[in-house]
């Protein structure tokens, strides 16, 4: 059976420290999201995921770039690279790394929900003919994705899977399940564009996007949740899931 093979400590560099699990549900307003999914080599998915998680067939990498207009930490942008996976039989996205353009937001996301991130610059622009996102870290372009020719879609037709964020917690190294709720007011779908992905800069040098699947863009609000579940990364989720 397909199962992640990465040793958790080997992929834990840069993981945030969480001193407790006390983050409360936190609403974020005026959120615009660009989500692009792309296939990559299936074999590699097993090597990048910890044993708690199962890859999908085929391997899929997803980028979620968000502009958050209202939050307790002010306005900020968040860009995530995630690998689509399963925890048990549930669809999830394993967070490889995130880029945030606000130190306050980065700190809050790391300490409250286990987001591994670096500071960088993020641009998310919506035009009538395309939606584009560009991400740079230390002046180096690391991601450029887009959605071309947006077409309206019902908000209910878009779904986002929960994050599994690797973090050092009071219980040790754990995958932290983060399942935000979304209230979407507008949704669009279009031709996916992956113009640049610098895998090395994201810590996954071998990962090469191969076959774009889809791109969606939404607007609305979301709520970061109170944490409910952790998962030991070294054993599969049926044995390693812990309720908070």
């Amino acid at each position: 059976m397909l199962q992640g093979r990465a040793q958790p400590e080997a992929i834990a560099a840069g993981c945030p420290e969480m001193v407790d699990f006390g983050a409360t549900a936190t609403p974020l307003g005026d959120v615009q999201t660009l989500h692009v999914l792309c296939e990559f080599e299936s074999r590699l998915a097993e090597e990048l995921l910890p044993p708690a998680l199962h890859p999908t067939l085929p391997g899929v990498v997803g980028w979620m770039v968000q502009r958050v207009g209202e939050s307790p930490w002010g306005a900020f942008h968040l860009a995530q690279t995630r690998i689509e996976c399963r925890s048990g039989v549930r669809p999830r996205g394993y967070l490889v790394e995130a880029v945030v353009d606000s130190a306050a937001a980065a700190e809050a996301l790391a300490s409250g929900w286990g987001f591994r991130s670096r500071l960088g610059t993020i641009r998310l622009r919506r035009y009538y003919d395309e939606v584009r996102a560009e991400v740079a870290v230390s002046g180096r372009d690391v991601l450029a994705i887009g959605l071309r020719d947006p077409q309206p879609l019902a908000a209910a037709d878009v779904q986002y899977v929960a994050n599994m964020n690797l973090a050092r917690t009071p219980r040790g190294l754990r995958l932290v399940q983060v399942d935000p709720s979304f209230a979407l007011e507008r949704a669009e779908r279009g031709e996916p564009r992956v113009d640049l992905f610098d895998g090395e800069a994201w810590g996954v040098a071998e990962l090469e996007p191969a076959y774009p699947i889809s791109a969606s863009s939404t607007a609305g609000s979301m709520t970061l949740p109170q944490l409910r579940f952790l998962c030991r990364p070294e054993v599969w989720a049926f044995d390693g899931t812990e309720r908070l």
Binding site: M1, L37, L57, P58, R86, V89, P91, D157, Q159, S216
Partner: protein
Amino acid sequence: MQFGIFFELSVPRPFSPEAERRVYEDAIEQIRLADSLGFATAWAVEHHFLEEYSHCSAPELFLTAAARETRRIRLGHGAVVCVPEMNHPIRVAERAAVLDILSGGRLELGTARSSTWTELGGFEADPDSTKKDWDEYVRVLPRMWMEERLSWDGTCFSMPERAVLPKPLQRPHPPMWVTVTSPGTELDAADRGLGCLGVAAVSYAEQERRTREYHRRVRQCEPVGGVVNDRVATNNFLYCHQDSRTGVESGMRLMGMFGLLNSHLLFTREAYPTNAYQTLGNLNPIPRGESGGPGDEVRAPEGICVGNPAQITAAARQWESIGVDQINFILNVSDVLSQEQVLDSLRLFAREVMPGFAPAARPSTAEGR
């Protein structure tokens, strides 16, 4: 009530030609036994690229082999993926007709559109159009079989006048079905006079609702073919053992493995936002049995046919009471059970469960059956 068997042909890793061959040969042996025991139908899915979960990519070949080794059991080609990138409709009609001939008129033809990006993406098929494609197929296939020559000017394909040959043995044509995973597809089936082939695990209550709606609608259908198939079938797992705990625990392992392998697939709705796929297909958490103390009776989830003959009889009775005409059983998944366990389970089921159920005393839905 009729009972059938249902094959995904899952193959455990590591893959090898020997392992593939053994899975196919074991399945043929299971069909031979099921034929001799009085099972009604052996179904084989069509799936592509679904590693471990299903290596049944050419079911018409598998079923042809089964047909030549059996005498009575009907053969469910189910379901053919009705998407032009995968199967041209002319080829579907031709292959089905040949299978019907070589099986002596024992074909049941299921139709589907695929629910995974793993498959649709692999063929570069457009998820937005699969429902339309399927609808066109189910209207044209009966005409290809019934009309001497046919021309077609459609959306997903067109053809000048030709004779699609051979014609099937059953007249006017083999019974047709639609696989139903998403709520609402049972109504599509009913409106077209097609059988409802449930392939996702649902509760009694949900199946009852779907069955009631289906039967209400099918009475007013405008059939796409020359005959109405108004039967409702549902999928289930089977592991029958004299010892309840052994039956339930082994059966639950079967279900658990099925759920895990199924979860690896990338379902279309998950990867490709569209209103053409309203659910994740059959990516649903596997129901768990109620757990108790170490000495407590081990119980299977509602409606699942694992356990001892009495438990399985009770579950099947409940399905029968809500109007299901046929239960099709998955017998093994990725070698969770040995071949001997599977065969013994079939024999015990046939000996102690089947006699309590009269074969469906319903008029044939196609002549020549």
